[in-house]
Symmetry: C2
Subunit: 192 residues, 2 copies
């Protein structure tokens, strides 16, 4: 790979932003190529078809997830900062023009997806749930959090809530996000 060209990375960045802004069917090759100053065929060179591109986005996103959770998954630690980190990340994404989350964007166009994409998305989600489940378990053990029911269900319900929150926030503004984060804290018996 030429050291002076990072077209591939720029394509992924742009496509990622577009997908989280408009969904899978809401952007075209042109929307990527034009701002990057390349031709559509340049995208096809790096990603023969759209599914190859989507696959790269999921893998990239999965990598980000792994990097930011691996330490906690390996060594544990306080749970509260993990949860707050998720809130901060979510807020930041919304502020940076990525209003909807990847799983949500893919869920809309789920029938169009290839099995490979479905599986990659599935693995991403399972890792997300596993991480938050562990955060919930450890948080309850350490009495940082208080909740009834099993940790996995609680984790799934919080992820669902955040996913929905991002969509509601798009319609009603970012205040909604903070409101819902606060409700999650309240539900977990966090008082400060």
């Amino acid at each position: 790979m030429s050291p002076t060209s990072n077209t591939r990375e720029q394509i992924i960045d742009k496509a990622f932003q577009l997908m989280l802004q408009r969904g899978l069917n809401g952007f075209s090759y042109r929307d990527i190529s034009e701002p990057l100053g390349v031709k559509n065929a340049a995208i096809h060179y790096h990603f023969p078809n759209k599914m190859d591109l989507i696959k790269a986005l999921i893998d990239e996103n999965h990598l980000v997830l792994r990097r930011s959770t691996s330490e906690f998954m390996a060594y544990g630690g306080p749970a509260r900062p993990q949860l707050e980190g998720l809130f901060a990340f979510t807020l930041n994404q919304c502020q940076c023009g990525r209003p909807i989350c990847m799983v949500g964007a893919l869920a809309i166009d789920y029938d169009d997806l290839t099995d490979e994409i479905k599986n990659a998305n599935d693995r991403f989600m399972k890792d997300s749930v596993n991480w938050l489940t562990r955060v919930m378990e450890i948080g309850r053990d350490q009495e940082e959090f208080h909740f009834d029911g099993d940790a996995a269900s609680k984790a799934v319900s919080i992820l669902a809530m955040i996913q929905g929150a991002r969509q509601l926030a798009r319609v009603h503004g970012l205040d909604y996000l903070e409101k819902i984060f606060d409700q999650i804290r309240t539900d977990l018996g966090i008082k400060d």
Copy 2:
């Protein structure tokens, strides 16, 4: 209007199903006209452009909401069946091939929407929140539900959770829905 023709209603029905299955940009006039055995131009006759069609879908959906909540909004009553009704409705929609909710479908393509559509969607959401807020208030007053924080925040967080749950359920199956409903019950201190 001819009494023998219900093309307009059939178009709305089909478009509604398609939108909740594939999102705003995921279906075309052809997807509607072909199964109905009419031509694309027939749709344009009833709805000059796509936004007119979407507007009709929102209005139709809003009507359904009003019909199913008006009695409780006017006279109150037990809160628990209201919540369970929402769960049953959501599950039924998913089982009938409408995996995602309308607000979620519109949130993805939010930037494309006209102001008229945004406002209509906004009013629909506000009515939904108002209804569930009242359910939460009355439920807490009558000691059917137990939760901390204000009723409006709790209502918004539950709606967000259900919205997210529908998307997760698409990826991971309907079991996820029931799991999340159970967690909502648990969080509200419902034991039976």
